[in-house]
């Protein structure tokens, strides 16, 4: 009788162990499938114009959280986004570097809590003067192409602005 009980207990334990292994294997398969879907899904990039018919990533139509994350993803892999056109709205800030003898121009986009701004450098196309740019702290909307330039041996990324609108 005791040996019968022992055998039944051993069988039950075996069954429970097989069930656990099956569940764990199922979880692993689900996670692997999810991972494959992530890797193989299309990504917006230089050649992937899934956003709009005009191929512009419009940050003004996104929430601030989404815009922050999208800009972050561009600067995580800047070389892969050269040629990408974006539209963004933010505050204009110039910076004068006396050692280089020129102005640098930035647009600041703030995220939801306002604690983590994204500061993007941009340049107007052509040969603009300082007067072609808006006043400091002006609210502006730019449409530009992601580009790069070399300076003092370093690569810098900026937005070559085709269209700048001063909102206030």
């Amino acid at each position: 009788m005791a040996s019968g009980k022992k055998a039944r207990r051993a069988q039950a334990l075996k069954k429970a162990r097989r069930k656990k292994i099956a569940v764990i294997s199922a979880c692993a398969l689900v996670i692997a499938a999810a991972a494959l879907i992530i890797i193989n899904s299309p990504r917006p990039g230089n050649d992937d114009r899934t956003d709009t018919a005009a191929s512009i990533t419009d940050f003004t139509a996104m929430s601030s959280t989404m815009a922050y994350a999208a800009i972050n993803s561009i600067y995580e892999n800047p070389a892969g986004h050269i040629g990408r056109t974006i539209r963004a709205r933010g505050t204009y800030h110039p910076y004068s570097d006396p050692s280089m003898g020129q102005y640098y121009h930035y647009i600041t986009l703030t995220d939801a809590p306002g604690c983590c701004p994204q500061i993007l450098e941009f340049k107007l196309s052509g040969e603009p003067s300082r007067q072609d740019y808006p006043p400091q702290n002006a609210l502006i909307e730019i449409t530009g192409v992601f580009s790069s330039y070399e300076e003092l041996g370093h690569t810098y990324y900026y937005w070559a602005v085709e269209d700048l609108i001063t909102m206030n």
């Binding site: 569940v23 764990i24 979880c27 999810a34 139509a61 929430s63 601030s64 993803s73 604690c115």
Partner: protein
């Protein structure tokens, strides 16, 4: 653009897919252990360990480490083991030990960041780490793989040792008396909790991690009574609230961590009402 078109458009961005995948996995893992922690009255261990992680992140930032994960994880694991293994013979009891380590790590961490600033926007970076405003949306593919692997490990360990975890949760002394190595399973729990805390920092930040652990378990307990049903319900609530929180956040521009917590509070309220109705 309709809401559905906007949602489809947002999902073409890989960082949104990464955020949803990792968010769901973290919510799943944290809810599995949440039931155990609530029943063992260790609800605030998540808060304590997350502040330890914050302190470690501060040290890693000051030391200019490119990837702080490999410092944060072992330090948090060690702290978790020390906190959960102090037991009844400890000179400083469980809740006092958690409070001491929690505020100590938070204070020292912020002090280190101020003494050795390594970023132009210190306040912003601290805010993002504490509240997880956009961290989940800035993950790389490597981060996703790491989170997926650790989540799979946590889930596998929970499923493999489910019955032992159940025993240790409800009556540790009886479990030890029956010959089961309760201390070993407590150690396993401590390590899993630490792993989940380090993962969850990406989702909700260090200050809001306790919500991720507590609210799904408490919501499930309003309606269900058995350990298994509470655990399963807790997982479903946590995953749904995390997914909803991320979606609402990217649509409305609210911080991700706070939105997830708000969704969980809403879920708790709904289950509270269901509990009242079903008990009549």
């Amino acid at each position: 653009m309709t809401a559905m078109e906007r949602l489809v458009y947002y999902f073409t961005f890989d960082f949104v897919r990464y955020a949803m995948t990792v968010g769901v996995l973290i919510a799943l893992c944290s809810s599995l252990l949440g039931v155990t922690l609530v029943l063992k009255r260790f609800s605030f261990i998540g808060h304590g360990l997350s502040n330890v992680a914050f302190g470690t992140i501060a040290v890693a930032t000051a030391a200019n480490l490119t990837n702080n994960f490999f410092l944060v994880l072992p330090v948090t694991v060690i702290s978790s083991v020390l906190l959960l293994r102090t037991g009844k013979s400890a000179k400083i009891n469980g809740d006092a030990a958690i409070a001491m380590i929690s505020v100590g790590a938070l204070g020292i961490g912020y002090l280190i960041l101020n003494l050795f600033p390594n970023t132009a926007n210190l306040a912003g970076d601290v805010c993002a780490t504490l509240f997880g405003s956009t961290s989940i949306l800035t993950l790389t593919l490597t981060d996703v793989w790491l989170c997926a692997a650790l989540s799979a490990l946590v889930t596998a360990v929970f499923l493999l040792f489910y019955h032992k975890i159940f025993s240790v949760t409800f009556d540790e002394d009886f479990t030890a008396a029956t010959g089961t190595r309760a201390k070993t399973y407590n150690l396993i729990l401590a390590v899993i909790i630490a792993v989940i805390i380090v993962l969850a920092i990406n989702l909700v930040g260090t200050l809001l991690i306790s919500a991720l652990v507590i609210f799904p378990a408490l919501s499930a307990m309003r309606v269900f009574k058995s350990f298994l049903s509470v655990t399963v319900c807790s997982v479903i609530v946590s995953v749904v609230c995390a997914a909803l929180g991320i979606l609402i956040s990217i649509f409305t521009g609210t911080p991700v961590g706070s939105t997830i917590v708000a969704a969980q509070i809403g879920g708790f309220g709904i289950f509270w009402i269901i509990g009242i109705i079903t008990r009549r």
